[in-house]
Symmetry: C2
Subunit: 203 residues, 2 copies
Amino acid sequence: MNSPAINIPGYTYGTAEVAPSPSTLADLERLKVSTGFTKEDEHFLRMAGDVLQAQVETIVNHWRANIIAGIPHLARHSRNLDGTPAPDYLARSNQRFQQWIRDTCLRPYDQDWLNYQHEIALRHTRLKKNQTDGVSSTPYVPYGDIIAFVAVLNGSMRTYLAAHDHDAADVSRMHNAWCKSIHIQMALWAGSYMGTEAAGKES
Amino acid sequence: MNSPAINIPGYTYGTAEVAPSPSTLADLERLKVSTGFTKEDEHFLRMAGDVLQAQVETIVNHWRANIIAGIPHLARHSRNLDGTPAPDYLARSNQRFQQWIRDTCLRPYDQDWLNYQHEIALRHTRLKKNQTDGVSSTPYVPYGDIIAFVAVLNGSMRTYLAAHDHDAADVSRMHNAWCKSIHIQMALWAGSYMGTEAAGKES
């Protein structure tokens, strides 16, 4: 990973501050199989990372300033409780949002990645929201708000993936790999929200 | 809707047997806004329904026989507990799976649709799985298994949407509308799995 990652406020990827995920590497393997995620998708995610690397600030600004800011029931989650802006909170979480794009494309999906998926989810629940940045905002983000907005992330990603003039087939392959990863992540986040039973554990 | 719908075993859409959804039409409206689902998407879902209508059997056979059958941790959910095939169960649920494609594209998203989303989710949980068909299969489908496999549904849909020779831009618009609907549905199903707090309700 490039060095700027370590300078992001509240970004604790791979550190001892991150608790173990309740999902195991075997759970992750099953999720990969269920989504059809293969070595080829890993390859195209790396390619996507190369394309997106320099665009992450633009992308997150688009999502946050052009879309979320205009949707009150989503915007409130990065504002103060009285609805006033919380610019420091927004700036810090935007940097982590940007890094999440890089991590999705460029990190190996190992135990550290799995643990940080759990951390990301917890930071949207009552257990950990607001704590990282010491703010008073909404107490949690409903899981359904996340799943719904992911449609926007995925839908807008294709344009950014085309920025390096790859042919349409490769852009589609990068986009498919991205979407599969996001489905794996949504399933993992559900596990953190719901507890283990409904999250992909063996019964 | 076309008349065959009413002859599908266990398909109770719009009947008094279907319990009210815990999600309201206002919740649905918020989910539409979060996914960016507009009147234009409704238009392209109708177009998608016209294209997919005659292909639903082929599509579901592809998902079930070519993909799920080869993934033991998914295939078990439509088999007997000892792992032997349950052909009647599979045939009945395949017909409902086909009808779900039609309903996604062609039904108005009203209270009946919302209630049936809840019913569909419950039929995957411990509360109602196996009851509709009177079978002994896995007691529930982990929510994460559903979310993960949806990546396959979405990924394979584009090819089927191209079957009527619409231009690439319209195929993309149909596909985007499909994906947005699926995100709305995944959020609603999460509500049925998790209870109301994390499902998109106002706090």
